[in-house]
């Protein structure tokens, strides 16, 4: 599962640029993730702060 931690986010928009599903949107100080994530992991690679991470299913 791809998890977004708002506390770690620095609002730069890099994740938005690489999401192939185009489900990420940067509002002023938060990224919202729509439905349809294919877990490609692109956002986890480019995020400078590690706000997007891949978590094992519980």
């Amino acid at each position: 599962m791809i998890k977004y931690q708002r506390d770690n986010c620095g609002y730069c928009g890099a994740c938005v640029a690489v999401c192939p599903q185009q489900i990420l949107e940067l509002t002023e100080n938060e990224v919202t993730k729509g439905i349809g994530c294919d877990e490609c992991g692109n956002c986890t690679i480019v995020c400078p702060m590690g706000a997007f991470t891949r978590e094992d299913e519980p």
Partner: protein, 392 residues
């Protein structure tokens, strides 16, 4: 609501487009989704005189933090090279212009103020959600302000919405980037770092900044922007940065900046019917250095002028707007293309290659580089051969 030109994004690309369109006497609206212009800063703030020449502006103390006289590059093994000695000229741009460290917050705001004074209307905290299209032609935007949706008609929409660039995707000009084409950046503005206030420092190496480099840009006597761009899935940019900074005692951060830089070179087409793209959204950034201020300034100026001219002639079709694409490619197309080639070749270099190159350049200054010594050296380093052959 109806405007001749609507500009999406209110930083350098947006303000410069708006300024030059307004100067040509058309009605311009600039829309910025954040509630402040230019924050948070996503930039190391280095530029050259060419930016001010493009903008017909004088470099002013108001938005310049410091003046730069030279640069030192550190190879992975720590070997230091002063670039002006190696190349025999100021490296900052081809023309040898002097360098500056800007105060981007003040500079971006200043540009927006100039646009407003020239007649541009500005809407803050307003997000463009969609493009309005009629028979395939872009003819306006759908925007949202405090929950209220509005339609704004326009003869030309200029997308200056940065690395996110939803607009170019909505217009069908690009698809999402690959992670290897985005430099993931983190920067701390530090107090207490004792370095030459007139000199830039660059550090290379897989351990320091894999797939990129680290910079130290002095902002006058008081603070230094220490940042890096990486392309790696091992650690985050912020982790690499903290790892580097841990070598200094008693430094204190007063600002954290992060961002993504598009390093794929320009997109194939920067115009369509009723639509232009400028700046990071168009990939008008040097793929080696990640520098985009002066290219964005030039391209945005031309976009504003071409959009105004087309609106006045009441023909904003792709055929007419193509003039923008032609003009900016004439000025920067070749440079960005060569730079992308260098980036691709440099991506293959190992730390050992970089150390060998630094050692070689230290011994052989560029201007009196003999072909024989170069060929001998390159014969031993095939990765470097590809990178350096265009220099010879």
């Amino acid at each position: 609501m109806k405007y001749d030109v609507v500009v999406v994004g209110g930083r350098i690309g947006g303000s410069v487009s708006s300024l030059f369109a307004s100067r040509d006497d058309v009605d311009v609206l600039m829309i910025e989704k954040r509630q402040e212009i230019g924050t948070p800063v996503q930039c190391a703030e280095g530029t050259t005189l060419s930016t001010f020449k493009i903008l017909d502006m004088k470099p002013s103390r108001r938005f310049i933090n410091s003046y730069i006289e030279g640069a030192t590059v550190y190879a992975p093994d720590g070997r230091a090279l002063d670039l002006e000695e190696v190349t025999g000229r100021n490296f900052l741009d081809g023309a040898g212009y002097e360098g500056y460290i800007l105060d981007r917050k003040v500079f971006d705001k200043h540009l927006a103020i100039q646009a407003a004074k020239a007649g541009t209307d500005i809407m803050m905290k307003t997000t463009v959600k969609d493009l309005i299209r009629k028979e395939g032609k872009v003819c306006g935007v759908v925007a949202k302000h405090l929950g209220k949706i509005m339609e704004i008609k326009a003869d030309v929409v200029i997308a200056a919405d940065g690395v996110e660039s939803n607009m170019t995707r909505l217009a069908g000009l690009t698809s999402p980037n690959q992670p290897r084409d985005i430099g993931s950046c983190a920067q701390l503005e530090l107090v207490g770092l004792d370095i030459d206030p007139y000199r830039l420092n660059f550090y290379f190496g897989r351990k320091i900044a894999p797939g990129g480099y680290l910079w130290m840009f002095p902002k006058g006597e008081d603070t230094v922007n220490v940042g890096l761009g990486v392309r790696s899935n091992k650690k985050t940019a912020y982790q690499y940065l903290n790892q580097f900074i841990s070598r200094f005692d008693d430094v204190t951060p007063v600002e954290l900046n992060i961002g993504g830089v598009p390093l794929s070179g320009p997109i194939d087409r920067t115009y369509s019917d009723g639509f232009l793209v400028v700046g990071d959204a168009a990939g008008q950034v040097d793929p080696v250095t990640g520098g985009g201020i002066h290219t964005t300034a030039f391209c945005a100026k031309v976009a504003g002028q071409v959009a105004a001219e087309a609106a006045k002639k009441e023909d904003t079709s792709a055929d007419v707007l193509k003039k923008y694409d032609d003009i900016w490619r004439e000025r920067f197309g070749k440079n960005l293309e060569i730079s992308l080639k260098y980036r691709n070749a440099a991506d293959k270099l190992t730390d050992k290659d970089m150390n060998a190159l630094a050692e070689f350049l230290e011994k052989n200054k560029m201007e009196n580089l003999s072909k024989i010594s170069a060929i001998k050296f390159l014969g031993k380093h095939p990765n470097l051969l590809k990178l350096i052959k265009d220099f010879l």
